[in-house]
Structure formats: C-alpha cells, structure tokens
C-alpha cells in the first residue's frame, strides 16, 4: 500500500522546479508527479507546458502516449501481473483469471472501493522464474495461487503486501 501526498499546486510547482533543469525534462517531471501524487493530475499539464515552454498539446501528448502514466488515482494496492510470453508459458493466463476472481476486479481496472488496481505489465525480466508480478512495488517470482491468496488477504486487511 503506497501513501501519496494530497494534491497541492505549490507542491506540484516544487516538483517541477526540482527537475526543470534536466535536458528533456518532461518525462522526469511526469514520473516525479506520479511518485508524489500517485497519478498525474490534469492541472499539471499547463504548469509543465508553461515552465518548459511547450504547448499544452505537446505535454498532453506525452502524458497519454506512455502506458505508465495514470490520470486517475490508483487503488491503494497496485497489482501488476506479467502478461508477456515467458509468463504465459508458465500458466499466467489461468493465474490472472484466478486473481481477477480473488480480488474481485478485472484486469485493467480499479475496484469500486478503491482498494486495489489490477494491471498487466509486459515483462519484469524475471522470465526464468515465471510467472511474475509487481505488487506494491515488490517483485514476486514463481507466482502461484497461494501467493495470489496472500495478496488478496493483504488487500482485504488494508496491509502492505509482505507484512502478514
């Protein structure tokens, strides 16, 4: 479970100021925004555009091009299951269906109660100990039903994965 800061224009301006000196600063700023607020709130688009002397359309284009950037807050726990070929060879497709059922949320969605977001990720480089996942930023290899159960318990209890 990740804890993010509440939105504030001042904080966003500060994040921009910390990174604006970099060459090609747009991506580092967007990453930093997401790390700070958990997502990239819309009001930062004109702020970045103004600071970096870009059009809003350009910044918006970057924000929407990349799969990583969110425009809505994620669930309190983010579960990313690897959907790439090596993990498929070890049964990730069936395991994903199991996780959807256990967590009560479909792939690519956030549960209505905001507890969990389930997303695909395309390879974590753990392909020799597949299937793999990234749960609350923690790497998981040799993923099986028992670990999915453990993840579901953490989500239900509002605990950080690995805490129980």
């Amino acid at each position: 479970m990740a804890v993010y800061e509440d939105w504030s224009t001042e904080r966003a301006a500060q994040v921009i100021a910390e990174h604006k000196h970099l060459d090609g600063a747009t991506m580092p700023i967007l990453h930093a925004m997401q790390e700070t607020f958990g997502f990239v709130p819309d009001p930062v688009v004109p702020m970045i555009a103004e600071t970096l002397n870009l059009s809003r359309a350009e910044v918006y284009g970057v924000l929407t091009f990349y799969h990583d950037f969110r425009r809505e807050p994620p669930g309190r726990t983010v579960v990313k299951l690897c959907a790439a070929e090596a993990c498929q060879s070890m049964g990730s497709t069936a395991l994903t269906a199991y996780a959807e059922e256990k967590l009560g949320v479909s792939m690519g969605e956030t549960s209505a109660d905001g507890r969990v977001t389930l997303e695909p990720i395309y390879c974590l480089g753990l392909c020799a100990c597949a299937p793999s996942a990234l749960v609350d930023g923690q790497l998981v290899g040799r993923l099986d039903r028992a670990t999915v159960d453990e993840i579901a318990e953490c989500v239900a209890a509002g605990k950080h994965f690995g805490e129980v």
Binding site: M27, H31, A86, Q88, Y122, G125, L126, L139
Partner: protein, 520 residues
C-alpha cells in the same frame, strides 16, 4: 578465526524469490548464535532456478546452497553450512558446476562473484583495465579495436558496433552523446538487467570508453520502468564512480571528460527502437523517426549520437582489455565473440548462459536448460522476443548465429529463448503477437496500427472456422503488407511469430494436420 563470508544475491530475480527474507533470517540466526559473519549481497550468478543461492567462502572455494527458503536458514546453520557442510540443498563448489564451467563468461565474467557496488572488487577482477588501455591507445585506435573485435550490436539488429562508432567519431560537432539502450522489452530477456544489478561499473566503464573513442562527453542510460531495482543500483554506482574521479573531468588524469545520467522509460515497448528512444529522451512521445538521417549523424537533441544496446557497451571493456583479436577468436561465421543467451519460460534450468556463437538451439534447450519445467515435452520456443519466430523441435539443430537464424526466418534478437511445452495453443500465441503489436504501436504507420487489430480479428475467425480459406489468404496478405509497409520492426517483424506459428502448427488453427498452409 576469520569471520565467515556469506553471499546472498541482491538482484531482482533473487529478491523476487525471497532473497531479502533469507538475508534477514540469516542475520537473526547469526545474532542468536553469537556468530559474526560478513554477509555480502552479491549479484546473481545467473542460475535462476537455484535462487536464492546462498554461498559461503571456504578454502575449497565458494560452496553453494539453493534454492534457500527463509525456513531453511536455521536448519542450514544447525547443519554447519558456515564451514561448507553437506546438506540436501548443498550444490557443492559453485565454480565447478557444469552449468557454469561450460560457459565462456567474457561480458558477464564478474556477475555473482563481486559485490556490485564495490569499486575495489570491480578493479580487483579486471575492472578499468579496458579504459586504461583505451586512454593509452587514444580515440582512433580504440575505435579500430572495437571494429577488429567483430562485435555486432546485441540489441537485435546486429549492426557492427565499431563501424557505428567510426561514423560518430568522424562527425564534426560541438556536442556528441552516448546513449545506452536499456529498454530490454523482449519477454525472455534479462541480460541488461543483470549487468545493471550485478556489475554496474562494467556499463559505466564501457560508456566511458565509447565517449573517449568518439569524442562524446555526456551519456544517458534509458532504463525501462519495469526495472526499478536496476535503476537504483545504477544511480548509486554512477555517484560512487563520480566520487572516485571515474566520471567527470579529467578521468584518471587522462584529460578525458565524461559523465552520465539515468533516465526512466514509461512502459512503452516501442521506445526500445532507437529513434523512438531518442524522442522519449528528448521529452516527447515515442514516435519512430524515419531514417536517414541516422542517429550517428543526427541523434539526441540533433547531435551525433552513439546508441547501443547495454550488452554491446558492457562488452567493450573486455575487448579493450584483451584486444579485438582475443574477442574475435570466439564464435562462428560473421557472429564473433560470445552471446549471453537467456533461457526462460517453461524451462527447468533457466538463466543466463554466455557462450560463443555456434551452439545449437537443441543443446541450449534440452541439455543446458534440462527441458521443460513442467516435465512435459517441448512444443516450440520463441527466440528473439515478441517479434521473433516460433521454432518447432525439428529446427533445433539450428546453430545460434545471426545468419543461420535469419535463414530460417528467425532472429536471435537480444538472445532470449522462451520455451513452451505441449499445452501451448499456438493460435493463441499468434493472436497475442498481433495484440501486442496493436497495444504497443507508436501509431505512425497504418499497417502496424490498424493491420495488427485486423490480424487479431482474422485469427479469431480462422480458429472459429469462419470462411477459413478466405481468412487465411487475408492473414497472409496482411502479414505481407505489414512486413513491407512498416517503418520499424514492430510492425515489420510481428508477422514472423504469426507466420511461423501458422506454418509449423496448422492444427492449432483448426486445420487437419498436414494440410498445406498458405503462408510465407
């Protein structure tokens, strides 16, 4: 008595398999027994089925135990593993394992052996000898040494690295750049990740040599966001190298200046394509650029740029240290040197196997890899990532070589091999290839952006038996259009996994076996 030295790997695979919990248990167990020991967090040796692989230094060599679970720790301590005692998890002297002894570790010589962030250990194991020799040789001779080595880009296209460097060296400019492609998006690959996590100074040294060779003073590593740990290790290593005067101005008193920065991708596979990557580094959408101009002439921020795969750059230090000829003497045909082959997926002994080119696919999968993890028969392997062909078992005599693979409409790409057992549905995998292309397309070309979605629908219809002949012809036509009408290999190569699946496994597409299939 000297306090024992214990190694617990710290790379992403080991951690994903519980290495941090093992290390914690070990610390607690040692404390409870009043034993002082030095726990070194090394990188992985690349034998991932054994992770977490705990090693202990003894006079016989480093003795390994694996895979160790947190619950095993107390039992191991009790059994006396600190002196290398026997135990069901003991695998003996690690360096003597056939899996390691059969390899030729040149680029990966240090992984798993040293503490990744210790400069002292890096230098004690041959580190910075390459850069020192490059400084003595000077820029032009350094470039020629890389040309002589026969090194070809390990990112997929296999272009001679030395020739690329020559072009950039000859381009006049006030500023040039070295860009390391660490986007490693192919499923089944982890060689770049392992260097960053287990031997980061090797990349720093390689990029510094590249900078010296072509006259570039600034480097960027574009690392995918799926590798958070590698990113952090690299940032620490860069900082330490800077503090030690190995990055910055006047490196090792040579008058050469070079510094570098880490940058993070954002989950776009296409950003592994070099021009898309440069756009992304510039802070834009990752749209592929038309070539020419080549990045060597007009690259990052419009300046002459060397963009190389991480393994290409990390191979440069040993080439400079031992000479181009030393490296060129390994390999076969036009594939010189060694390749870090990554065995992945449904495989018993998966991991990183560095060997000279020429080894057969069958030996890699069956002998070294030990067959499938499930114990079922192998049905196919996908080589070279999501844009690579599926090879059936009857093609397992193919030697691992750029040209031999190309002759079978296959690629070695970045060296990944993903194994599938007989439960795989190849029509599903063909459809996945099209879906992946649709998901990752940068959107610039119609055949890639729209064609891939049409491909998904058409495969569905074929499998459903709907207007079978017409739809097979349509799919063939679509693949042809994608091959010819795409600007980059995302759209251009997606047909390879699709067509190979259809050619070798028609029965999975609803055909009666042996029916001639309209493909290729």
């Amino acid at each position: 008595m000297k306090s024992p030295r214990i190694f617990v790997p710290n790379d992403a695979t080991a951690i994903a398999c519980g290495a941090d919990r093992v290390a914690k248990r070990l610390e607690a167990g040692l404390l409870a027994r009043g034993i002082t020991a030095d726990i070194t967090r090394n990188g992985s040796r690349g034998m991932f089925w054994l992770e977490p692989l705990v090693e202990i230094e003894t006079e016989r060599g480093r003795i390994g135990y694996g895979p160790v679970t947190p619950a095993d720790v107390d039992e191991l301590l009790h059994a006396g593993f600190l002196t290398g005692a026997d135990h069901p998890k003991c695998i003996g002297v690690v360096d003597e394992l056939p899996w390691l002894k059969k390899q030729t570790r040149l680029t990966f010589a240090r992984i798993g052996i040293i503490d990744p962030l210790s400069l002292t250990e890096y230098e004690a194991h041959g580190g910075y000898r390459g850069l020192k020799r490059a400084i003595d040789l000077g820029p032009a001779a350094t470039v020629e040494e890389v040309v002589d080595s026969g090194l070809r880009g390990r990112g997929g296209a296999g272009f001679p690295t030395g020739i690329k460097w020559r072009t950039v060296a000859a381009a006049p400019a006030d500023q040039k750049y070295i860009v390391c492609n660490a986007d490693e998006g192919d499923s089944g690959t982890f060689a770049d990740r392992l260097i960053m996590e287990a031997d980061p100074y090797c990349l720093i040294e390689g990029m510094t040599i590249a900078g010296l060779a072509v006259g570039a003073t600034k480097g960027f590593v574009y690392c995918r966001s799926e590798y958070p740990l590698a990113f952090v290790v690299m940032e620490k290593a860069i900082e330490k190298a800077r503090m030690a005067g190995l990055l910055g101005d006047n490196i090792l008193g040579s008058g050469v200046s070079f510094d570098m920065e880490m940058r993070m991708g954002a989950g776009a596979y296409v950003c592994g394509e070099e021009t898309s990557l440069l756009e992304s580094l510039e802070g834009k959408r990752g749209l592929v650029r038309a070539k020419p101009p080549l990045p060597a002439h007009v690259g990052l921020f419009g300046k002459p740029t060397v963009i190389n795969n991480l393994v290409s750059l990390a191979t440069v230090p040993i080439i400079l240290d031992k000479g181009g000829k030393f490296y060129r003497d390994f390999g076969m045909g036009r594939s010189r040197g060694t390749m870090p082959i990554q065995l992945a997926g449904n495989i018993k002994h998966g991991g990183l196997f560095e060997t000279a080119f020429g080894i057969s696919l069958g030996e890699l999968v069956n002998e070294i890899g030990g067959g499938t993890a499930s114990g079922r028969p192998v049905k196919a392997v996908q080589a070279g990532g999501p844009l690579g062909a599926y090879l059936p078992v009857h093609q397992f005599d193919t030697p691992f070589d750029y040209e031999a693979f190309a002759a079978k409409d296959a690629l070695i790409g970045h060296g990944g091999i993903v194994v599938f057992d007989d439960t795989v549905d190849m029509a599903h995998m063909a459809k996945f290839a099209m879906e992946f292309c649709a998901h990752e397309s940068c959107g610039k070309c119609t055949p890639c952006r729209i064609g891939s979605t049409r491909g998904v629908e058409t495969i569905d219809k074929i499998v459903a038996g709907e207007k079978r002949e017409q739809n097979l012809a349509l799919l063939e036509d679509l693949c042809h259009t994608m091959k010819l009408g795409s600007l980059c290999a995302l759209g251009g190569f997606t047909p390879y996994p699709v067509v190979s699946a259809l050619t070798h496994f028609p029965e999975d597409f609803g055909a009666t076996p042996k029916l001639p299939v309209a493909a290729e």
